[in-house]
C-alpha cells in the first residue's frame, strides 16, 4: 500500500498526543499532579497540539476537506467514521480540563473529566487501528494485533513525552518511568509478533481464484489494460522499499524501542541529568515509529494486485 505522508504524520502525531493525554489523565486520576496546574497544562497543550496537527494532516489527505464533517455520520458501520466521532468527543473533556486549570476553577469534576479524556484517547486510537484491521483485502492489516500495536505505540510515545515534560519540572518518579518502560517493552513485543505473523502468511488468494480461470492452468498477465500504472496500481501496488524491509525493521526496532528503553533506564538509575537523555529517547522513538508506520503501509499487500501479476495475496 502506498504510504501517504499525511497519514503517517496523522497516525504517529495524533497517536503520541492521545498517548500523552492518556497518561496525563491517569496521573490526574491518581492525584499525581496534586494541584500543579502549570505542570498539567504543560502536558495538555502539547497533547492537544499533536492531536490537532495529526487530524488536520489527515484532512489534507482528503479530496474534499471542506466536506470532512460528513465523515461523522456513518458510525454504525464505518471505523473511519467512529474514529472521527471519538476524536471530536475527546476534545470535550480535554478542553474542559484545560479551562479548569487555566481559569483556576474550583471543581470536583476533574477526576471524572480525566476518566473521560483517558477513555476517549484510548478509544480513538483503537478506532484508528480498526480502520486498517477491518480491511479483509489486506492480510497484513486484517489482524487483531494492529489496533493493539496502535494503542501500544501511542502509549509508548505518550509515555516518553510525559516523562520528558515531567523532567523539565522535577525528577520523574520511578513508578512513572517504570510505566514508560513497560509500554515500550509491550509495543516491541507486539510489533515483533506482528512481523512474524505477516511473514508466515503468504496469502490465501491466487490469481487463478481472482480470474476464475484456475481450471485452465496458471494465470499470467500478457497485455496490461493500460500502458502506465493507474490509481489502483499506484495506491495498492506500492513496492518501493519492500526489499529494504528487513533493514528498516531493524532500524525501527533500534530507534523506536531499544534506544528509548536504554535511555529511560539510564535516566532512572544513572543519576545523570534526566532531561537530555529523555529528549534523546523521545526523538529516537519518534523517528523509529515513523519508520515503523512507513513499513506498515509499504509492506502491506492488496488482493487487487492479483489482477496485476501478483501470484498470491
Amino acid at each position: 500500500m502506498h504510504p501517504a505522508y499525511s497519514v503517517i504524520l496523522f497516525t504517529t502525531a495524533s497517536g503520541a498526543g492521545y498517548g500523552l493525554l492518556f497518561w496525563l489523565s491517569l496521573g490526574i486520576q491518581i492525584g499525581y499532579f496534586a494541584g500543579d496546574r502549570w505542570q498539567s497544562l504543560a502536558m495538555l497543550v502539547p497533547a492537544l497540539a499533536l492531536i490537532t496537527i495529526g487530524l488536520l494532516s489527515s484532512m489534507l489527505h482528503l479530496g474534499h476537506p471542506e466536506r470532512a464533517h460528513r465523515a461523522m455520520s456513518q458510525w454504525r458501520s464505518s471505523w473511519l467514521s467512529r474514529e472521527g466521532v471519538a476524536a471530536l468527543s475527546t476534545y470535550v473533556p480535554a478542553s474542559l480540563m484545560g479551562m479548569i486549570w487555566l481559569l483556576e476553577i474550583d471543581t470536583n469534576f476533574l477526576p471524572a473529566l480525566a476518566i473521560l479524556a483517558a477513555a476517549g484517547a484510548m478509544i480513538t486510537v483503537y478506532c484508528t487501528g480498526m480502520i486498517y484491521a477491518s480491511l479483509r483485502t489486506i492480510r497484513h492489516w486484517n489482524l487483531g494485533l494492529v489496533p493493539l500495536f496502535y494503542i501500544a505505540a501511542a502509549a509508548t510515545t505518550g509515555a516518553l513525552l510525559f516523562l520528558l515534560i515531567q523532567s523539565i519540572f522535577a525528577r520523574a518518579p520511578d513508578w512513572v518511568a517504570v510505566t514508560g518502560v513497560a509500554a515500550i517493552a509491550m509495543a516491541m513485543i507486539v510489533k515483533l509478533i506482528y512481523w512474524r505473523t505477516i511473514d508466515g502468511n503468504k496469502g490465501q488468494y491466487t490469481a487463478e481464484m481472482a480470474t476464475g480461470l484456475g481450471a485452465l492452468g496458471t494465470v499470467r498477465p500478457l497485455d496490461p489494460p493500460h500502458t502506465m500504472p493507474n490509481f489502483v496500481m499506484r495506491e495498492m501496488g506500492y513496492k518501493v522499499g519492500r526489499k529494504h524491509a528487513r533493514k528498516l525493521r531493524r532500524v525501527a526496532v533500534a530507534l523506536a524501542f531499544i534506544l528509548p528503553l536504554a535511555m529511560v533506564l539510564l535516566a532512572l538509575y544513572s543519576g545523570w541529568p534526566q532531561l537530555p537523555m529523555l529528549a534523546l529517547a523521545t526523538l529516537s522513538a519518534a523517528i523509529g515509529i515513523v519508520v515503523e508506520r512507513w513499513l506498515f503501509f509499504a509492506e502491506a499487500e492488496h488482493v487487487a494486485m492479483l489482477y496485476y501479476g501478483a501470484a498470491r495475496a
Binding site: G63, T137, G212, H302
Partner: protein, 249 residues
C-alpha cells in the same frame, strides 16, 4: 446510508463471455466516453498524450495467458465493479457517499458527498474503484444508471454503454436475481462463475468461461502451489524467533 440495504430481489449486473471477448477495448473506451459526461462526470485524465498518462477509468480490459505449452491460451478479461451483494466498499465509507441501491442492487458513489478518503477503494478486492485526482472523489462503474432507466433514449439503447459498444456481443446486461432472465439462463447453461468467490462479497456480475478448444488441448493442468520460501538466518529473524520462543513458553 452506508449500511447495506436488505437484499433486493432485482440484481442488475453484467455477464461477460470470456470465450468471445477479443480484448478490443471498445467497452472500456465507450464507458469512458459515456461516463465522462454522465453520472460520474468528469473522468479526469492526466498527461493523456504524454509519457506518463493516467486517469480514472471504470472498466479495464486485461489480457492473460492461461495454461502451459500447447494447452496455453490467451484470455481477454474485462474487469469493472461487480456490484457485490455484501461489499465492504459500502460499509467502510464514513460519509454515506458509497451506497448500494435497495431497488436494483447497483453500487454507486454520491459525488456530492464523497470526501475522497479512498477507503472504499482499499476495501474492494477487485480493484474496481479509481480515484479522480482532479474531481477529488471516488469513481466507479454505475452500471450506466443514467442510461438503463433513461426514457429519453430509444428502448434498445437503455443498456450500459459497454454492452452497447461490444462488437462481439461478449457483454450482456440483465437481472441476475431473476432465474428466468436471459442472462441467468445463459449463466446456468454455460457454467458462469463469479470472481474470487472465496472472498465472500458475493459479486452479482458473472463471467462465462472459455469453451474447450476444438483441438482438445484445454485439458485441465494442475496448478502448482508456489513454494513458501524458508526464513533466512539473519539477525532480525533470530530476534523474532527468540521473541517467539520466549512468548510461547
Amino acid at each position: 446510508m452506508t449500511s447495506l440495504p436488505a437484499p433486493s430481489t432485482r440484481k442488475l449486473g453484467l455477464v461477460i463471455d470470456l470465450d468471445i471477448c477479443v480484448g478490443c477495448q471498445a467497452c472500456a473506451t465507450s464507458c469512458k466516453e459515456w461516463n465522462t459526461g454522465g453520472y460520474s462526470a468528469p473522468l479526469s485524465d492526466h498527461d493523456p498524450y504524454g509519457a506518463d498518462p493516467s486517469g480514472a477509468w471504470l472498466n479495464r480490459v486485461h489480457s492473460y495467458e492461461v495454461g502451459e505449452g500447447a494447452s496455453g491460451q490467451t484470455v481477454h478479461f474485462p474487469r469493472s465493479c461487480l456490484h457485490c451483494e455484501e461489499p465492504d466498499c459500502v460499509t467502510v465509507c464514513p460519509t454515506g457517499a458509497s451506497f448500494k441501491r435497495a431497488e436494483d442492487g447497483i453500487v454507486l458513489v454520491n459525488p456530492d458527498t464523497c470526501i475522497g478518503c479512498k477507503l472504499c477503494s482499499w476495501a474492494c478486492p477487485y480493484g474496481a474503484r479509481e480515484y479522480d485526482h482532479d474531481d477529488g472523489v471516488m469513481k466507479k462503474c454505475t452500471l450506466c444508471v443514467d442510461r438503463i432507466y433513461n426514457e429519453t433514449l430509444a428502448e434498445e439503447d437503455r443498456v450500459p454503454a459497454c454492452v452497447k459498444a461490444c462488437p462481439t456481443g461478449a457483454r450482456a446486461f440483465g437481472d441476475l436475481g431473476d432465474p428466468k432472465s436471459e442472462v441467468s439462463k445463459n449463466v446456468a447453461t454455460r457454467g458462469g462463475f463469479s470472481l474470487l468467490e472465496e472472498f465472500g462479497y458475493k459479486p452479482v456480475n458473472r463471467y462465462l468461461p472459455p469453451r474447450p478448444r476444438r483441438d482438445g488441448h484445454s485439458a485441465p493442468v494442475n496448478v502448482p502451489v508456489e513454494a513458501i520460501p524458508a526464513a533466512d538466518n539473519s539477525v532480525a529473524e533470530k530476534l523474532f524467533a527468540w521473541a517467539d520462543r520466549v512468548l510461547s513458553r
